[in-house]
């Protein structure tokens, strides 16, 4: 684990996120299923439109297909979206980048990953690719601001998320879960899977998963 990634995990936890990983790509699907298992109910889970390069990799779709008790997935390109997004139990998105020192993750919106994907559900799960983790907030902010990312121009909406929604407005004591999600799960994924893992990933029950709060 690189320094930046372990610092990110530590700081995100201090900010009240649950952090999992780093796992390799081959284990991503199983990790997501393990993390969300208890949190998913009969309400839909919101995912970015297919094909998302990470979330629609074969290993992940297979893990979703095998979800214990089955899962109802909705996506932005489905006609159900506008009416049902507000009623989802979990929203899953892939982060654009992260800053380790402050423990914060940036999610840029796009046609396939709208703003509401990470806003309306009571729980969100953010997948952070280890190679997008910057050590300092200033560097991460600067990278996004100056458009030096591979993705090019600045998105019309970017949400930086450091943890659950909160308020200090009731007698200045923190109360959790106001307008945004009350629960934030972060899965950190490393770039390249060992070749043999990709095919075998589907049935793995949470190998390499580190769960803590």
């Amino acid at each position: 684990m690189t320094d930046a990634v372990s610092l990110l995990s530590e700081r995100l936890r201090a900010n009240r996120c649950a952090v999992h990983g780093p796992v390799d790509r081959g284990h991503l699907g199983a990790t997501i299923v393990a993390v969300l298992g208890a949190l998913v109910d009969s309400r839909p889970v919101a995912l970015p439109s297919a094909p998302d390069p990470l979330l629609d990799a074969p290993g992940v779709t297979a893990a979703f297909a095998d979800w214990p008790g089955s899962v109802d997935v909705i996506r932005p390109d489905s006609p159900r979206w506008p009416d049902e997004i507000a009623g989802c139990c979990v929203g899953i998105a892939v982060a654009t980048l992260a800053a380790a020192d402050l423990g914060i993750v940036a999610v840029a919106c796009s046609p396939g990953a709208p703003r509401s994907l990470t806003l309306l559900a009571p729980t969100i799960l953010l997948v952070v690719r280890a190679e997008t983790v910057h050590h300092s907030f200033e560097d991460a902010w600067g990278a996004l601001a100056s458009g030096s990312l591979a993705s090019g121009a600045l998105a019309s909406g970017v949400s930086w998320i450091s943890g659950p929604s909160r308020t200090g407005d009731l007698e200045m004591i923190l109360t959790w879960g106001v307008h945004g999600p009350a629960r934030v799960e972060v899965v950190i994924v490393t770039s390249d899977p060992p070749a043999d893992v990709i095919g075998a990933a589907a049935g793995i029950d949470g190998a390499g998963i580190e769960v803590s709060r």
């Binding site: 900010n15 932005p76 979206w81 506008p82 507000a86 402050l102 423990g103 914060i104 919106c109 796009s110 046609p111 709208p114 703003r115 509401s116 806003l119 907030f137 200033e138 560097d139 991460a140 902010w141 600067g142 601001a145 100056s146 458009g147 600045l154 998105a155 019309s156 909406g157 970017v158 949400s159 930086w160 998320i161 450091s162 943890g163 659950p164 929604s165 909160r166 308020t167 200090g168 407005d169 009731l170 007698e171 200045m172 004591i173 109360t175 879960g177 106001v178 307008h179 945004g180």
Partner: protein
């Protein structure tokens, strides 16, 4: 009515006094954090220099931000006055046929009294920030720029929310928060107009940045079809990248957090293929007497990042709370801004309601010399009408031209301190006092500007007060200074004596 006249009621309000104790606690934490972080001063200087960069060419930066905003598809409205800005938003709401507006927390919209203007044309306006919502239902105004409902107890919030819920809500934070979430969620999801302020707007990318903990800023920029952002021109930063240095300082000083839950960037309306975010984005650039400040000592206030730390630090605010100021912006920054932004029509007494202890200046993350500005205002406000300060030659802390990289690191507030006594206008100030007091001050000024006489009077004072503090319970003619306290004895031995002894010991 003045702050002094409103103070007794505030002092007698037990709830308020309890709440203000929490403000003081936050101040202590913020100050301790600043002192324990080794590079605080460097970061403050850097952020201060970045914030002052626009002052050398404010009109140019307004042009640059306008063209960037237009390039990314926003509709820009430049408004000279608060009234213009409110009318502009009203016209937009009319043209768009808006019925339900949700807001994210914004002091700029308080400044232009937007809610009343929209309600007058039948638009329902809902504050999305929990504190602002509490204040809205109570029919009050925010008493703090960061925690607007600091003066409300949990019990009072339950009393305000219960009629909306239709049953009695428990006096319990989670329950009240849950009620507000559900109630406001329905409003957010049905709103057709989203109204925001801006913590900052970047001139290079045309990006509006909102800093929130609850997510009200994200809601107001995600769901409604039309978004209006009211952006005072002092919110401009030259480059979006500059905020990497400024945002953490803001959140540390505002809420003692290393960063808030959310930072939202909005760069233009939604783009092709996107299914949420505003279809139409209007940006109202508000002057409201800010351009008048450029080139005067008061231009320092345009560096303010509205963190509220000076409110928390202020011993006057900590005793009377925000409502006693009867202004949109309370506390030290409000005492400076209110007379300036109102063109001298409001808050003329506020700069006088300060002990000039300097705690505000010390805590300010961008180095605004608040105490100096308060002293200057006392002089400038002696002449009726708008504040017309002398224009000063500008010394350049970090005033690089528009093409330069991040400004040189230099100390903000390095311009010469405001002139001491007699300050410009002091004669006029004195002539408004009763004759005996102005005579007293004149004699005092003459005596104490001579070092020998100064030392002699202090020696005499030490001699007279040496036995015990408080033997003098009333000092006639001192204008109330001994009304609630006794005259303390002078320090024994005095500072000069301590100093010479120390030098001898070396």
């Amino acid at each position: 009515m003045t702050l002094a006249a409103r103070a007794p009621a505030a002092l007698a309000d037990e709830h308020l006094q309890q709440a203000l104790g929490r403000i003081t606690d936050r101040y202590r934490l913020v100050r301790a954090r600043a002192r324990e972080t080794p590079d605080t001063d460097d970061r403050k200087h850097r952020a201060g220099a970045l914030r002052r960069e626009i002052l050398a060419d404010l009109d140019g930066w307004i042009d640059r931000v306008t063209s960037s905003l237009e390039r990314v598809g926003a509709v820009v409205h430049r408004c000279a006055t608060a009234a213009d800005a409110a009318e502009t938003v009203v016209a937009i709401a009319r043209a768009e046929g808006s019925r339900l507006a949700v807001k994210s927390k914004s002091m700029a919209t308080e400044e232009i009294h937007l809610n009343a203007a929209l309600e007058a044309i039948g638009v329902e306006v809902i504050e999305g920030d929990l504190g602002e919502y509490i204040v809205q239902i109570a029919g009050e105004r925010p008493s703090h720029i960061i925690t607007p409902a600091i003066h409300k107890t949990l019990g009072q919030v339950a009393d305000l929310f219960s009629p909306l819920a239709g049953h009695t809500l428990p006096v319990e934070r989670e329950a009240l928060c849950a009620f507000a979430r559900d109630h406001l969620r329905t409003k957010f999801l049905n709103a057709d107009l989203g109204i925001t302020g801006a913590n900052f707007v970047a001139a290079d990318t045309g990006t509006i940045v909102l800093v929130t903990n609850e997510g009200n800023g994200r809601m107001a920029t995600t769901v409604p079809r039309v978004q209006v952002s009211v952006v005072p021109i002092d919110k401009i930063v030259p480059r979006l990248a500059d905020l990497g240095a400024i945002l953490p300082l803001l959140t540390e000083h505002a809420t003692n957090q290393s960063i808030t839950a959310y930072l939202s960037m909005t760069t233009g309306p939604r783009r092709a293929g996107e299914i949420d975010g505003p279809e139409v984005l209007h940006v109202v650039l508000l002057d409201g007497h800010r351009r008048d400040l450029v080139g005067t000592p008061y231009e320092e206030m345009l560096a303010c990042i509205r963190c509220g730390a000076c409110l928390n630090a202020c011993p006057v605010y900590a005793k009377v709370g925000g409502h006693a100021y009867d202004s949109v912006y309370p506390g030290p920054m409000g005492s400076v801004l209110t007379p300036l932004l109102s063109g001298g029509t409001e808050g003329r007494d506020l700069p006088f309601a300060s002990s000039l202890c300097g705690a505000c200046t010390e805590i300010c993350p961008v180095g605004i010399p608040l105490a100096d500005l308060l002293v200057r205002l006392r002089a400038d406000l002696r002449t009726p009408g708008p504040v017309v300060p002398a224009r000063v030659g500008r010394t350049p802390p970090g005033r690089a031209g528009p093409q330069a990289g991040p400004g040189p690191v230099s100390s903000p507030g390095t311009r010469p301190p405001a002139a001491g006594f007699p300050w410009p206008g002091a004669d006029a100030a004195l002539s408004r006092q009763p004759w005996y007091r102005s005579l007293g001050w004149s004699i005092w000024a003459r005596v104490w500007s001579r070092p020998r006489l100064y030392r002699a009077t202090l020696a005499l004072g030490r001699l007279v007060t040496r036995r015990r503090s408080g033997w003098c319970r009333r000092l006639p003619g001192s204008g109330g200074w001994t009304a609630t306290r006794d005259l303390p004895s002078l320090a024994q031995p005095g500072f000069r004596r301590l100093w010479t002894d120390r030098e001898h010991r070396r």
